[in-house]
């Protein structure tokens, strides 16, 4: 039965019932009065004012009807709204990961059941297009790899051909550099597509994060030496996480590389690794132009590069932080980007640590 019909029926019944009660009551009262008048004369009849009697009936009968209406209506609305609440909760919990699980239906064919069905169909279509987009990126990046390898091989031959003119070899070499850049972007896209599809081959071994951070600090010193950036490793507590060592190294190097690239001459980079409750918290703070506030939330988006990066000659595809984020999430961690009050940029990675 539809909800509208249920409410309509309930109120018709309540109203009819109260009408019947009032009717019977009046009939009974007036009968009684008439009897009294017949037996006791006008004196007795005057004892009961008809108007007063009528008001009394309307008051009590009406009150009962109102009470019944409020209680019953409340109960009915509560029962009608509960599925809406359940649906809202299900909607709130919906994200990319659970698009294929439909919301359970009541099956009674009312408006809300139909709404749930519509919502489930929408979810299904959304899930389908997500899968398609994901598979498209995965296939596209895979399909691009082979021709790129072929082009690379051909250019390599041209670049090393002793018989070729110097100018041709130069041209081939410059094309080789571009092909390498392209391969690197394709590789990164393929990495992200595999991460999205949950296909990242990730080992689950115990990784000593503090050793990785110490190695990273040394590499960062090397990377930053050209720009006179000082690198300091603050507190570095011995902490282990469960995960893939290679991916964690990639994550740390990505972050450090960003901290060097978007830094300024004579700037600084600071790293710390500390335990916080049951988490390993890696913090990387660096000087350099901070992103404008309105762009900060977009920093992990794919191909996002702040305006400052577009203007400068800084290399990079704008995929580094997206990759960092997907590695962190594959390790059940959280990554955040913020700008400290004094203008330094801070990236914090929180990973569940092992005892």
């Amino acid at each position: 039965m539809t909800l509208r019909r249920r409410i309509l029926l309930y109120y018709s019944i309540t109203l009819s019932l109260s009408l019947v009660i009032v009717g019977f009551w009046s009939w009974f009262e007036f009968n009684e009065q008439r009897d009294e008048a017949l037996h006791g004369g006008a004196e007795a009849a005057l004892k009961h004012d008809p108007l007063e009697e009528t008001l009394e009936i309307i008051l009590y009968g009406g009150l009962a009807a109102i009470l019944l209406g409020i209680l019953g209506g409340g109960l009915l609305m509560h029962r009608a709204l509960r599925p809406i609440e359940e649906l809202t909760e299900a909607l709130e919990k919906t994200d990319v990961s659970n698009l294929s699980n439909p919301v359970p239906r009541s099956g009674n064919g009312d408006e809300l059941d139909r709404m749930t069905a519509v919502f489930n169909r929408m979810k299904e279509r959304l899930g389908l297009s997500f899968t398609q987009a994901r598979e498209f990126t995965l296939n596209a990046s895979h399909e691009l790899k082979t021709p790129l390898t072929v082009i690379y091989g051909a250019l390599e031959q041209m670049a090393t051909n002793e018989q070729a003119a110097e100018v041709d070899r130069e041209r081939a070499a410059s094309l080789l550099e571009e092909v390498q850049r392209l391969s690197s972007i394709v590789g990164q896209l393929s990495f992200l597509a595999r991460a999205d599809a949950g296909l990242l081959p990730s080992a689950r071994e115990s990784v000593a994060l503090d050793i990785l951070v110490r190695d990273l600090a040394e590499e960062t010193i090397i990377l930053a030496s050209g720009a006179e950036i000082s690198v300091t490793l603050g507190e570095c507590q011995p902490l282990s996480v469960s995960g893939d060592k290679m991916r964690l190294r990639q994550l740390l190097l990505n972050l450090a590389d960003n901290a060097v690239k978007y830094n300024e001459r004579g700037g600084s980079i600071e790293m710390t690794l500390v335990r916080q409750n049951d988490d390993a918290v890696f913090t990387l703070t660096n000087t350099g132009m901070a992103l404008p506030a309105e762009l900060r939330s977009r920093v992990f988006e794919r191909f996002f590069r702040g305006d400052l990066a577009h203007n400068s000659a800084t290399e990079g595809s704008g995929l580094g932080l997206s990759i960092a984020k997907s590695i962190v999430e594959a390790h059940q961690g959280v990554i955040s980007y913020s700008v400290l009050p004094e203008g330094r940029t801070q990236v914090v990675v929180t990973l569940p640590s092992q005892r």
Binding site: A172, L176, I222, G226, R249, Q250, D257, S317
Partner: protein, 57 residues
């Protein structure tokens, strides 16, 4: 001749392209140690391909 990728996988054992200048910086340091005090530079950059160690032609 060795490519940047060869160096990355042989020295750091990375299976990914770190996208950094690590290799360039290390080669520069290597040049400082090997070639700086001599008239002939042995470490040569082959543009687009990598590095090689040979007598300049």
């Amino acid at each position: 001749m060795v490519s940047r990728r060869d160096i990355i996988s042989a020295v750091w054992e990375y299976d990914f392209d770190p996208g950094t200048n690590l290799v360039d910086v290390y080669v520069r340091r290597l040049r400082d140690k090997i070639d700086r005090d001599f008239p002939l530079a042995l470490i040569q950059t082959v543009r687009g391909l990598g590095y090689t160690l040979r007598l300049p032609s």
